[in-house]
């Protein structure tokens, strides 16, 4: 077990956005959390990264409780989040963005290997390495965001809505990369609104509705489940 939550609850002031969530991520596994917007998916990811302090429950990384740690400390442990909306540093070049990913985890010495790996995966980024990140297309920015997270050599990669706002062809490229990262041994937690896509990529899934898990199971089973559609369309 690399990452697990036990009865995790998260509240924004009086609003409880996540209620009693328990999920498990094994070494090398790729799991997904799906659900309509407002279901609490992003809140879960933010709690895992230490951005919001949980109101209840526990988060454990390799058996160690981490729910009181600051975001940068969690990132340094190797739990790296690739946030929703990409959030690349628009005024920095592609190369600078990538290098920061490694620098944040103190991996200055392994800059070269990291860059080789990312450029190997996304040749498009190599072509645009000197360009300002803000001038990239949406898909390229998503590649950069994933690449930047990869530079930190994550043990666990948290992906928040990587398909959001991308053209279908780009979605394919991005998801292919996600599978490849997972095949190379990184455990991945994928949060997605595009449920079919997410369930085809992951091996196990949780369906969230208004902060609660209403359904969980192997991705194959979930994809066929009638209840899935109800979680989205009522």
């Amino acid at each position: 077990m690399i990452l697990e939550t036990e009865n995790l609850s998260v509240a924004y002031g009086p609003i409880e956005a996540v209620k009693g969530l328990s999920l498990r991520l094994e070494e090398g596994q790729l799991i997904t959390i799906v659900g309509a917007n407002g279901a609490g998916k992003s809140t879960t990811i933010r709690a895992l990264s230490g951005e919001i302090r949980p109101s209840g429950g526990e988060i454990r990384y390799r058996g160690r409780a981490i729910s009181r740690m600051a975001p940068h400390e969690i990132a340094r442990l190797g739990i790296v989040q690739c946030p929703e909306g990409r959030r690349v540093f628009a005024g920095l070049s592609v190369l600078e963005n990538l290098k920061l990913g490694a620098y944040g985890r103190g991996l200055q010495g392994e800059m070269k290997q990291g860059l080789d790996r990312v450029f190997g995966m996304f040749p498009r980024l190599a072509e645009r390495r000197e360009q300002l990140a803000g001038t990239l297309s949406g898909g390229e920015q998503q590649m950069l965001a994933i690449g930047r997270a990869l530079m930190a050599r994550p043990e666990v990669l948290l992906l928040d809505e990587p398909s959001l706002g991308l053209a279908p062809i780009m979605v394919q490229t991005v998801f292919e990369a996600i599978r490849e990262i997972n095949r190379a041994g990184t455990a991945v937690l994928l949060v997605e609104q595009n449920a079919f896509l997410a369930l085809r990529t992951a091996s196990y899934g949780y369906v969230l509705q208004t902060g609660r898990v209403v359904l969980e199971g192997t991705a194959k089973d979930l994809a066929m489940d009638e209840q899935m559609m109800r979680a989205y369309l009522g």
């Binding site: 940068h72 959030r87 540093f89 920095l92 920061l100 944040g104």
Partner: protein
């Protein structure tokens, strides 16, 4: 005249270099934290005085002294961040504005207490002998200034662009959240940013001390205004903009003093600050609009309940009784005079509280209204020979109208820009008072203003006390009525959430204009009273420091608390006088008050104590 141009530009570039260095510091901090460091001036003063001590007292060589002094300024930045900014990371934006301002004033006054307020020569082994190049002369210090500016900015550029740490600093200003997600320690990055910014300010201070061969404790505050102007002109968060802005400002000042008049030199920066803020919000190189219609609410502490004026309440009678009977117990003329002064400031703080407390607009120009009323009354009395009641009434009306006019530009600004804009406007008004000699008699001030007389009776002695007490009483009733009405409700709503208020039809522009109008009218009444009370006024009594003092009074008493503001005004005006030894520390006390109150009792003495997070503001 045109052949002077190369000379004007050379002089301007050297001075502009110091502005550019200080402005880059302002922009650096603004970019990373989105706050304006109103304590930046302290770093300049500190740098210059560190250099003075190291050179003169310790006799170090010039290069070592300057390097160590820069290191000293770096540490001042560390102090500013740890004391005034770090504890308030999640507090309303208003809070670091007040703490940085207060701490800056405090530090400058510490310097003043140690070294005295006089301007001292800043002797260096470098000669001030000018060299001539085909008619254009340049001093060694001008050359050194330009060289140091170029080298410092070059090093900063390398730091920000060629080191991982510097890249991370730039990334913080883009997106603090993602920086932390990448494993970067944002607190440390912000701390170092402050230190570097202050070191740059320190260098600017050292250089300008050497350029003018003079140091004095308030040089930092003056230079800080120039730095704000340069930074705003350049586009605020853009470093290259700040450099260009600084150099342009230096050249403009140098041209202004040659082609117009050196007296108006300081007005150029102030005007640039105001005009650019209002009409050219992106500046030369900025790309963001200054403010969107976002939740830019600065002040989210709950307001205390409005005091009721029910005369059945014994507490109210007690206060009124004590105030009325006090002169019977205190017969000493000096003590009565102090009591009168305390009431003047109580009234002033009450009036600023309308704007700062209830409307949520931090104005650093309130003394300008006070001064406007004083000058209006004094001039009508001495020049036009009007009787006192007419002068008094005219001062109220004119200052009220002036306040409404003043609000028109200010209400286009939000957040820390309001404070900067009012600082610029207030400074401009001071400069006008100082330099429009034909009208205001300039720094000499206006003398022999007649004592007030009402219905043929000359007001004197204890009469002054009762007269200002009456002004305070009427003002208090008006303010209570205003706040405790539909109008006041809309004002407090706007303070909480301007967009929310506009969605139910509240016109924020009208509210702001009227708030400023009423606040200014009351300040105008105080000004008129003051002019006829002391019979002599000069611009010194109405400068920026005076505005800051009034703000400190409101903060001490409690933003939005009516009795609090009056008490705060009376206390801060009276205490330094009563504790005579303390009058030298006056400004240090104001500064420290702002810092300590915000850090430890943000609601003020009589403010409403409540939990600090609002549920609605947490998302």
């Amino acid at each position: 005249m045109i052949d002077l141009l190369p000379q004007v530009i050379v002089t301007g570039l050297a001075v502009g270099g110091t502005y550019a260095l200080a402005a880059v510091g302002v922009s650096l901090v603004f970019g990373v934290l989105n706050i304006v460091n109103f304590g930046h001036g302290a770093a300049l003063t500190a740098g210059a005085f560190f250099a003075l001590v190291l050179l003169k007292t310790l006799g170090l060589n010039i290069v070592t002294a300057f390097a160590l002094a820069t290191g000293g300024a770096y540490l001042v930045g560390w102090l500013i961040e740890r004391v005034t900014v770090r504890p308030l990371r999640d507090a309303p934006l208003l809070m670091p504005l007040i703490t940085t301002l207060g701490f800056g004033i405090f530090l400058e006054n510490v310097v003043q207490l140690v070294f005295g307020p006089e301007t001292q020569p800043f002797k260096t082994p470098v000669s001030h002998e000018p060299y001539s190049f085909g008619g254009t002369t340049v001093t060694v210090w001008e050359l050194i200034t330009m060289a140091v500016t170029v080298v410092s900015i070059g090093l900063l550029h390398l730091f920000l662009n060629r080191t991982h740490f510097g890249t991370a600093v730039r990334a913080v200003s883009e997106d603090r959240r993602t920086d932390a997600l990448m494993g970067l320690n944002v607190d440390r990055l912000i701390l170092v940013t402050f230190c570097v910014s202050s070191a740059l300010g320190g260098i600017a201070g050292i250089l300008s001390a050497a350029l003018y061969n003079a140091v004095n404790p308030t040089m930092g505050s003056a230079a800080m205004l120039k730095a704000f102007a340069a930074s705003v002109l350049g586009g605020m968060e853009v470093m290259s903009g700040a450099i260009v802005g600084g150099l342009l400002l230096g050249i403009a000042e140098s041209m202004g003093s040659v082609y117009i008049s050196s007296a108006w030199r300081d007005a150029i920066a102030l005007l640039a600050l105001v005009v650019v803020l209002l009409f050219w919000p992106t500046g030369l190189m900025g790309h963001r609009r200054l403010e969107k219609m976002e939740r830019a609410s600065l002040n989210v502490l709950p307001l205390p309940p409005v005091p009721s004026l029910e005369f059945r309440r014994p507490a109210l009678w007690l206060v009124i009784g004590v105030l009325l009977l006090l002169p019977l117990a205190v017969t000493d003329t000096y003590a009565r005079r102090i009591m009168t002064v305390m009431l003047v400031y109580g009234t002033l703080a009450l009036s600023l509280n309308i704007v700062a407390g209830f409307a949520g607009i931090i104005s650093l120009a309130h003394a300008a209204f006070y001064g406007f009323g004083a000058y209006a009354s004094a001039l009508l009395s001495t020049q036009a020979g009007w009787p006192f009641p007419a002068c008094f009434a005219a001062a109220i009306v004119l200052t009220g109208l002036f306040g409404m006019a003043f609000a028109a530009p200010v209400m286009r600004l939000r957040g820390h820009y309001v404070a900067m804009g009012t600082l610029g406007l207030g400074g401009t008004i001071s400069v006008v008072m100082l330099n429009w000699v034909d009208f205001t008699r300039g720094p000499m001030g206006i003398r022999s203003i007649p004592q007030p007389s009402l219905f043929g009776v000359e007001v004197d002695g204890v009469g002054y006390y009762y007269f200002i007490l009456a002004i305070l009483a009427v003002s208090t009733v008006l303010v209570v009525h205003m706040v405790d009405s539909a109008f006041g409700r809309a004002m407090r709503a706007m303070r909480d959430d301007e967009l929310g208020a506009s969605s139910v039809g509240v016109d924020a522009r009208v509210l702001k204009m009227v708030s400023f109008g009423v606040a200014a009218a009351i300040a105008g009444a105080c000004g008129s009273f003051w002019a006829h009370f002391v019979t002599f006024i000069s611009p010194d009594s109405f400068n920026i420091m005076e505005s800051i003092a009034i703000l400190a009074m409101v903060v001490l008493g409690g933003l939005g608390s009516i009795p609090g503001a009056i008490l705060g005004g009376a206390l801060l005006a009276g205490l330094p006088e009563l504790l005579r030894f303390a009058s030298d520390y006056r400004q240090a006390v104001y500064g420290l008050t702002m810092l300590l109150v915000v850090l430890f009792r943000p609601q003020g003495l009589l403010g409403f104590s409540a939990a600090r997070q609002a549920p609605g503001a947490s998302r």
